[in-house]
Amino acid sequence: MALMRVTSPHAHGPMSTQRVMQSVLLATVPGIIVLTHFFGFGTLVNILWGCVVALSCEALALKLRGRPLGFYLKDCSALVTAFLLCIALPPYSPWWLIAVGIASSILLAKHFYGGMGYNPFNPAMVGYVVLLISFPVQMTAWAPPRGVGELPGLMEALQACFVPATFDAVTLATPLDVMRQNSSLLVEDLWSQSPQFGRWAGIGWEWVNIAFLAGGCWLLYQRIFTWHAPVAMLASIALLAAIFNDAGSSASGGSPLFHLLSGATMFGAFFIVTDPVTSAVSLRGRLVYGALIGVLVYVIRVRGNYPDAVAFAVLIMNFAAPFIDHYTQPRTYGHEKSGGGS
């Protein structure tokens, strides 16, 4: 056997991109289980169908670009995108909604830019926002959680997805929606008036968030990402909520706990904001990036039109990430001060 001639280093660590992606997939499992428990099989069906579409889109794009399919498909990044987008979609979404969303994610946001690693915007969130502004009716139709409404069964979930015309969705405003719409009530009244509120936030929502928090912590432990971005985001949301919360009227936007445990906060903090490709790269940059996302989330939730602002906040900050990178270069060994920027 001829001796190989390669550059150092010759040893390689245990990490691989595929493993990173698989870990992320694994870490969503607790969240998905809790979602399924509270909202029925809708999300599961979403995810299954989403994965099929995602892999097809990815394969199509690769084919068109003349790339080897196997090599790229096995990195699992399309699956991650599909999982994350489908978790964010309302359960019992019709199949075409999911297909359009995934196509926007994989084709528009990812492969137009050259595929994995090159996309400046978070594909899942692009898909989500495209759907949200294009099909607001379907996108605001959240099912009521277990204990508030009836849960459809698995067959009904499949029916909702693939023959949507025959499915009569029961929908209910999400707690964030309710909070957003009512600015004249006392928070306590709101709580007692609306069935969807639970102990700290919405029924079901609080547990979903806690499950995603757990998954995220596991990823942190696995060193898939660093704590900087998620912690900065959660901290800034909590801080703003604490400052503006006067414990009285719902106009003040709800308590820190309410914000931390509703909507997509935890899911966003640990699975979306941490998307390495589209976030800032340096640690300092990630702090800034996460914190600004937190600020935007809070501001848009409380003052804007969109009750759950994570997707928009993430897109806006994706946009700013290269700029942040430019100014948050770490101080290199042996340099006086950070050498960033010009």
Binding site: R65, H111, Y118, F121, I300, F319, A320
Partner: protein, 192 residues
């Protein structure tokens, strides 16, 4: 009072961002965003000229055209005012600070055909802004323009080394990126 002005500012910078939502000043936005450095220069130059032109055109309208009943001459009058402001700025900068001129000089002439400048002047009239409001609105518009221009330039620098498919390279992916940015900016709807 103060709140009014800050609403005006935030409205112009984020919610109704001139570039991404109102579609004004797109040519320089696409044309001068290949490098962060040049984008910075363009931003500074535009901010200065836009604010000044907004105020000056407002004065011209209210103290020259309106009293004379010449509202319909606003387009041509404003374009003259803008050209004068640009030229004047260039002269002043060149005279007083050669250093600044080196940074801004090349961008100043480009601003005359930036429709954001004329757009601001016209919008001021549509919205019946007072002089102060016009000043703030112009400044807000300029900051909004600068913000997205600079962020966009930083992003394009990154795109330049991305593996973008051949037909998408250059302007096409720039446009699509601007579209996705505008998608994000839709999130600001309703803030003010």
């Amino acid at each position: 009072m103060l709140a009014d002005y800050s609403v005006l500012l935030i409205g112009a910078i984020l919610v109704n961002n001139f570039v991404l939502v109102q579609f004004l000043g797109l040519c320089p936005f696409m044309g001068v965003s290949n490098k962060l450095e040049t984008a910075m220069g363009m931003s500074m130059a535009t901010t200065f000229v836009l604010t000044l032109a907004s105020a000056c055109s407002n004065l011209t309208y209210h103290f020259l055209l309106l009293p004379l009943g010449l509202g319909y001459l606003k387009t041509i009058a404003f374009i003259l005012v803008i050209a004068v402001v640009v030229q004047f700025t260039e002269m002043v900068v060149r005279k007083t600070s050669p250093l600044l001129y080196r940074v801004l000089g090349v961008y100043l002439p480009l601003i005359t055909t930036n429709c954001a400048v004329l757009g601001v002047a016209l919008l001021n009239i549509n919205k019946d802004h007072s002089f102060l409001q016009a000043l703030f609105y112009g400044f807000g518009a300029a900051v909004g323009f600068s913000l997205v221009l600079v962020l966009f330039a930083a992003m394009r620098e990154r795109l330049a080394v991305a593996d973008v498919p051949q037909p998408f390279k250059g302007a096409a992916i720039g446009m699509i990126t601007a579209g996705l940015m505008s998608l994000g900016f839709m999130g600001f709807a309703g803030l003010v």
